[in-house]
């Protein structure tokens, strides 16, 4: 243990602790900007500087390890002045659009500048000038708002290991860019949006589609359908001040109705449908010696990852469309037929915790009705923004529920939003199909939790099933390498592109680095989903009555020819294209 | 190279090639051979060659051998001047054989070959 004094308060901490962490123990907060615990510890922004007795200059608290007898001062005149100057320098090279910026009131730079009473015009001079990168369908980078904290770079490199962005040029001309300053659309980006989730300012945000959705709602010819992904309900409350991990599903449905959507369906339904198809595909592969292990295909970032980095593993990917695409495809075929509506006039909006979904909807072979399965994708944040700008007081809304028939869901569909959820849902159905007997216990706890890689083995009526669950591409990469080398014998592998699964997706409400450091976002949001699963009477996808009638009335069997045409898709090798 | 001895042996060998690189020190014997047209015509080259050869053979590191211009006594060429122990010795009408003897008797053993010195001629 190391003993030190911070602002004269004695603290005892473990060796190797940083001043920042030690200060927190002493009840002292030190502001940060570039620091992301365990991901970006580079001491670059200089906001966290503190005075250390005997040190030549100020030191960065986020990376400076404590030592015995150290005396730290975090709140001297010199420290405050320095931090203020740092902020003022950052502001001098910042596109000050704060009034209308997408991150206004949720911007770490804005918050600190306000706290420190900065004069935003104290330093005047040349400013970085560049056009925003709007080349992709899913996100926008505006380097004029970038403060070069490099949190996006670190998350891309260290958490996802795709490293498509890095600092380019040097000195004042430094900016974050893809290799050779290519457009993001020309880089092997998986579209996960984790960069957006960690950006402290408005330099990164999703490609907004709110206006398109509003246009559709205002168009009397369009029947506008909305369906939210499982993880959305676990997080949208955060945008309205609810504690992290509050499920505000009922208010969300009410708000959707007030926004003017014609039908409120649910991607949870699509999740149950996915399980029907996917477990069928799995059993087929197992019995007919197909390519194993089979990979889940719900996460569009993961799909892009395989297509770009492991095209040799494409045969392992389940051919099932994602729950969102399945929902959209079913709406525009089955439901359209049933209601006698021309699919041309149906406008399907997915509400997603995800930025990659904005790409997914543009994929080829995702238009079962002859029209795109999904017309627009809004992130959780965009839906919240729509609600706010429509004058809806979310917190006062009464709870309501989804519309039938494509809204009904089971607990299995709900847990899709957390890492391990798809696996558990599939196991519930596969087990009963194989054994022909109802499960005593539907909880497959070994695949739950936020650990990067989870493994389990089950004996289902004599069929041994070895499963693995990974979230975050660093972990996915480990599994892919093992599978490529033939070092493992998994039957079924679930991969979610974002660490912790969709609850921590790139389209979820943004939490500051401070919150991320102190709150386990992933577990809290996942808990909201597992709680709902527990509460629901039906917790197995194959018992979803709406799903059952869908097969009876329309698809026939899981894996039928019709199901294949409408609910399955193909992948492309993007590495060798 | 596997030992310090080998390194030192190589150094000794190399010394003969780098000797003479630098201005002669006070304790060095300086030998100058008159190598102007007159000297060369009178046969100074074999004299110089012999001197260099002897120095090499005897590992004489504190000897500096060089050529010099005409010193004005062309009739006495080839002339070799030796600066040793603060004294100047001028040998005249030199030949290769005489040069070898001077190297042995005078430079190494300190006995000037009086018979070749200018004063005797």
């Amino acid at each position: 243990m190391v003993h030190l004094k911070i602002n004269n308060i004695p603290v005892e901490v473990k060796e190797g602790t940083t001043i920042l962490e030690a200060a927190k123990i002493a009840g002292i907060n030190i502001p940060t900007l570039c620091y992301l615990k365990e991901i970006n510890e580079i001491g670059a922004c200089r906001i966290c500087v503190v005075e250390v007795k005997g040190a030549r200059s100020l030191v960065a608290a986020c990376v400076y390890p404590v030592n015995e007898g150290m005396e730290v001062f975090t709140n001297t005149e010199k420290v405050r002045k320095s931090r203020k100057t740092t902020l003022e320098l950052l502001l001098s090279d910042h596109k000050k659009e704060c009034l209308s910026c997408v991150r206004s009131t949720n911007c770490e730079l804005q918050k600190l500048s306000n706290e420190y009473g900065c004069d935003e015009n104290r330093f005047k001079g040349a400013r970085t000038e560049c056009e925003p990168d709007t080349s992709t369908s899913y996100l926008v980078r505006d380097n004029e708002k970038c403060i070069l904290c490099r949190r996006c770079v670190a998350v891309c490199k260290k958490v996802q290991e795709v490293a498509v962005i890095a600092p380019a040029r040097r000195g004042f001309n430094t900016h974050i860019a893809c290799a050779f300053e290519a457009d993001l659309n020309d880089a092997p980006c998986v579209a996960c949006g984790q960069c957006v989730a960690v950006c402290p300012t408005g330099a990164l945000h999703e490609r907004e589609e709110i206006d398109n959705v509003r246009d559709a709602i205002n168009n009397p010819e369009k029947v506008v359908i909305v369906a939210a992904a499982p993880a959305v309900r676990a997080a949208i409350g955060e945008e309205f001040g609810y504690p992290i991990g509050t499920n505000t599903e009922g208010k969300m449905f009410t708000a959707m109705r007030m926004l003017g959507f014609d039908k409120i369906f649910d991607v949870n339904f699509g999740a149950d449908l996915t399980i029907m198809e996917e477990s069928n595909e799995l059993l087929d592969r197992v019995t007919n010696k197909g390519v194993l292990p089979m990979f889940t295909s719900c996460s569009p970032g993961w799909i892009r990852y395989v297509e770009y980095y492991y095209p040799e593993l494409i045969p392992n990917l389940s051919s099932c469309k994602s729950p969102m695409q399945m929902t959209g495809a079913t709406v525009k075929t089955y439901w359209a037929q049933k209601e006698g509506i021309d699919p041309k006039n149906i406008y399907f909006v997915g509400i997603m915790p995800c930025t990659a979904k904005k790409f997914e909807k543009t994929r080829a072979d995702e238009n079962a009705s002859g029209y795109p399965d999904v017309d627009a994708v809004l992130t959780t944040r965009e839906l919240a923004k729509m609600i706010k700008t429509s004058g809806i007081i979310f917190n006062q809304l009464p709870d309501s529920t989804f519309d039938n028939p494509l809204g009904e869901f089971t607990g299995a569909g709900v847990i899709f939003g957390a890492t391990g959820g798809v696996m558990e849902a599939a196991l519930r159905t596969a087990a009963e199909k194989l054994t022909g007997k109802p499960l005593d216990n539907v909880d497959f706890k070994a695949v739950r939790g936020t650990k990067g890689i989870k493994e389990a083995e089950y004996d289902l009526n004599g069929v041994k099933i070895k499963v693995a669950v990974a979230s975050g591409l660093t972990n996915a990469k480990q599994l892919c390498e093992k599978i490529k080398k033939g070092e493992c014998d998994y039957t079924f592998v679930e991969v979610m592109c974002c660490p912790g699964g969709c609850v921590n997706g790139g389209g979820q409400p943004i939490q500051s680095a401070y919150v991320r450091r102190n709150v386990d976002l992933r577990s809290k949001r996942a808990k909201a989903l597992y709680d709902e699963d527990k509460k629901l009477k039906i917790r197995k996808s194959h018992e979803n009555e709406a799903v059952m009638s869908l097969y009876k009335e329309f698809f026939g069997e899981p894996g039928s020819h019709k199901a294949h045409e409408i609910l399955h898709t193909k992948y492309v090798d993007r590495k060798h294209k | 190279m596997k030992s310090l001895e080998e390194l030192r042996a190589l150094r000794e060998k190399m010394k003969s090639q780098t000797d003479n690189r630098g201005v002669a020190g006070a304790d060095e014997t300086v030998i100058k051979v008159g190598m102007a047209t007159c000297g060369i015509a009178a046969g100074a080259r074999p004299v110089l060659d012999a001197l260099l050869e002897e120095a090499d053979k005897r590992h004489l590191h504190n000897v500096s051998i060089s050529q010099t211009g005409c010193i004005g006594m062309c009739r006495l060429e080839p002339i070799v001047e030796i600066f040793k122990d603060g004294q100047k010795f001028t040998y005249v009408h030199m030949t290769a054989e005489k040069a070898r003897k001077v190297m042995n008797d005078h430079v190494v053993n300190g006995n000037p070959c009086k018979e070749y010195l200018i004063s005797e001629n």
Partner: protein, 596 residues
């Protein structure tokens, strides 16, 4: 034995002056005359007197020929080499006495006060022949260390010698090694910083070009001391000759078994690789250099952890500069006391400086620590050319500060330089005379750091840029007195808040010029006047009517037609049209055009 040695300088300076053609021609003449066994022609490293290159020296006479052209080769060969008649006409003037007698090189002003330790073999041996290095005691120190000394003995000698890092900061070398030795690790690295980037500094280049084996030998000694078996030399790709000589030297050392496994038959293994830098100044900073060797963008990382604990590839590492290494074999052979006998109490030994700017003898000098600036500039450097008045000297390059004329008697060592607001740096010494504007000088150095900042931390990335912009306001005459205070404040902010040494020292040129030449800054701000007549925006060319003869020469040469007047009548410059190119002043034969 050769009766004659001809040493031709193969350093970068002389090479660019065609010294290699001189070398080739000499080799050719010697061959044609059949004198290969008598006369040895060698290319060597830098002699230091670059201002007079190409340089060659003929031994044993010690005739020092300067500014030798290919056309001079025949004369030197026929007269001197064949007939023994020194060609006085081509000798470096300082070596020729008034009576025509020839002075030894070491008696000339340029060399008299020098003491060559790090440069001892430069201009003496052929750097491309390991045998010549060995003839001059090369690798004897390594042999001694491996066979007679323990690693701790080695470190003790270095500690006792008082050697401090020659790269800039002056950290005691022995202590650095001790940290790395004490650090636990299965793999350790020895690195050499040859990423010399200060404008006008070329000590390290010259050592690598002139004596590469000294560095290799020293790195092996360091590796033995700390328990490493792998070294890296990080050298800038802009030093092609140094890279080539190093490559040859490493190859030769490997062939002789002086690098590789079981060196001198002991259990010690050590090998070396070269890593080329792309010329980023920041890669001279130790953590940035190591990040670059690892294959990443060359950017510094926070310290601690220090390299001795966690350096290259996360392993204990020592990093020393070329000149530091060049001293090591000598210290081992001659002892700590010998080294400590040179220099001052806290700065032992010698230091190499690269003289540049407004000085007569531009070039490379090595002087004992404690030599005064006056001795360097006047005695060795020959003072400012054209009889101009010495104004200040900049040491430490863009990280250092200026030393004004009134401090010229300061003995140079690490601590004194810091005390007067500059620093040793790697050894660049740039001399300024009365024609230099100190604000402009500060701007020059700051522009360099702005350009070379890696862009990682806010203080350096944006801070130096804003500081530079403020300096521009001063030289443009648009700054206010408040701006000067703001500049000073920003300087201290950048020093305190920057991540690495580059940012922490970047404001030094501004601070020191503001400190010693505040009046010049104020003249720019208050009187909108540049006293040295350098800052173009504040410059106004005028024609003194009394002196103007109306010859029309200026008007005819003005590129923008800003000068009007009739023949034999005084002319006038229209300040609105004038682009301040100075042609009129240059052309005027009567001194009628002046800077106002």
């Amino acid at each position: 034995m050769f009766r004659s040695h001809i040493l031709v300088c193969g350093g970068t300076g002389c090479t660019s002056g065609n010294s290699m053609k001189v070398y080739d021609a000499l080799v050719d003449r010697v061959q044609k005359a059949g004198l290969e066994n008598e006369v040895h022609v060698t290319k060597t490293g830098c002699f230091g007197l670059c201002a007079y290159g190409p340089i060659m020296i003929v031994y044993p006479e010690g005739a020092f020929y300067s500014q030798v052209k290919v056309e001079d080769v025949d004369e030197i060969f026929n007269e001197h080499i064949v007939k023994g008649r020194i060609v006085t006409r081509l000798l470096y003037k300082e070596t020729v006495g008034e009576d025509g007698s020839i002075k030894a090189l070491n008696d000339t002003n340029f060399y008299k006060k020098q003491h060559r330790v790090a440069l001892r073999n430069c201009g003496v041996i052929n750097p491309e022949k390991i045998e010549e290095y060995i003839a001059y005691d090369g690798y004897e120190a390594l042999g001694k260390v491996l066979t007679e000394m323990t690693p701790q003995d080695v470190i003790d000698v270095i500690l006792k010698s008082g050697l401090r890092g020659r790269g800039g900061a002056g950290f005691p070398t022995g202590r650095k090694w001790q940290f790395a030795k004490n650090s636990v690790g299965n793999k350790k690295y020895v690195c050499c910083n040859a990423d010399e980037g200060d404008p006008g500094a070329f000590m390290d280049r010259s050592i690598l070009e002139g004596d590469p084996h000294a560095v290799i030998e020293a790195m092996a000694i360091a590796a033995y001391a700390i328990g490493s078996d792998q070294g890296y030399i990080y050298v800038r790709a802009e030093y092609p000759i140094a890279v080539q000589r190093l490559t040859i030297a490493i190859k030769q050392a490997r062939e002789y078994g002086l690098l590789g496994k079981n060196i001198f038959g002991t259990k010690f293994n050590f090998d070396l690789d070269i890593r080329l830098g792309a010329g980023a100044f920041v890669c001279g900073e130790e953590t940035a250099l190591m990040t670059s060797i690892e294959g990443h963008r060359g950017e510094p990382r926070p310290r601690p952890p220090f390299p001795a604990i966690k350096g290259l590839f996360g392993k204990p590492t020592i990093l020393n500069n070329v000149e530091t290494y060049a001293n090591i074999p000598q210290i081992i052979l001659k002892g700590a006391d010998w080294f400590a006998s040179m220099g001052t109490e806290k700065s032992r030994g010698t230091k190499v400086f690269a003289l540049g700017g407004k000085i007569h003898n531009t070039g490379l000098v090595e002087i004992p620590m404690g030599t005064t600036m006056r001795e360097i500039i006047y005695d060795i450097g020959g003072g400012c050319p054209n009889g101009k008045k010495f104004k200040a000297a900049q040491t430490g390059g863009p990280s250092g500060g200026c030393i004004p004329a009134h401090l010229i008697d300061t003995p140079i060592d690490y601590d004194n330089l810091i005390k007067i607001g500059s620093m040793m740096g790697s050894g660049g010494l740039i001399v300024m005379d009365e024609d230099n504007c100190m604000v402009d000088i500060a701007k020059f150095f700051l522009e360099f750091t702005v350009d070379e900042s890696c862009g990682k931390c806010t203080a350096c990335r944006i801070g130096t840029k804003r500081l530079y912009e403020m300096l521009c306001k001063v030289t443009d005459g648009t700054a206010t007195m408040e701006d000067l205070d703001k500049m000073e404040e920003l300087c201290y902010y950048i020093k305190e808040n920057s991540l690495c040494g580059l940012g922490q020292t970047a404001p030094n040129p501004v601070l020191s010029t503001m400190h010693y030449f505040r009046d010049e800054y104020e003249a720019h701000v208050r009187d909108k006047r540049c006293p040295a007549g350098v800052c173009k925006k504040l410059l106004r060319y005028q024609i003194v009517a009394d002196k103007c003869k109306g010859c029309t020469l200026c008007a005819r040469n003005c590129p923008v037609g800003a000068i009007t007047g009739t023949v034999k009548e005084p002319h006038v410059i229209d300040p609105n049209k004038c682009i301040k190119c100075g042609v009129c002043m240059e052309k005027c034969r009567f001194g009628a055009v002046i800077k106002a």
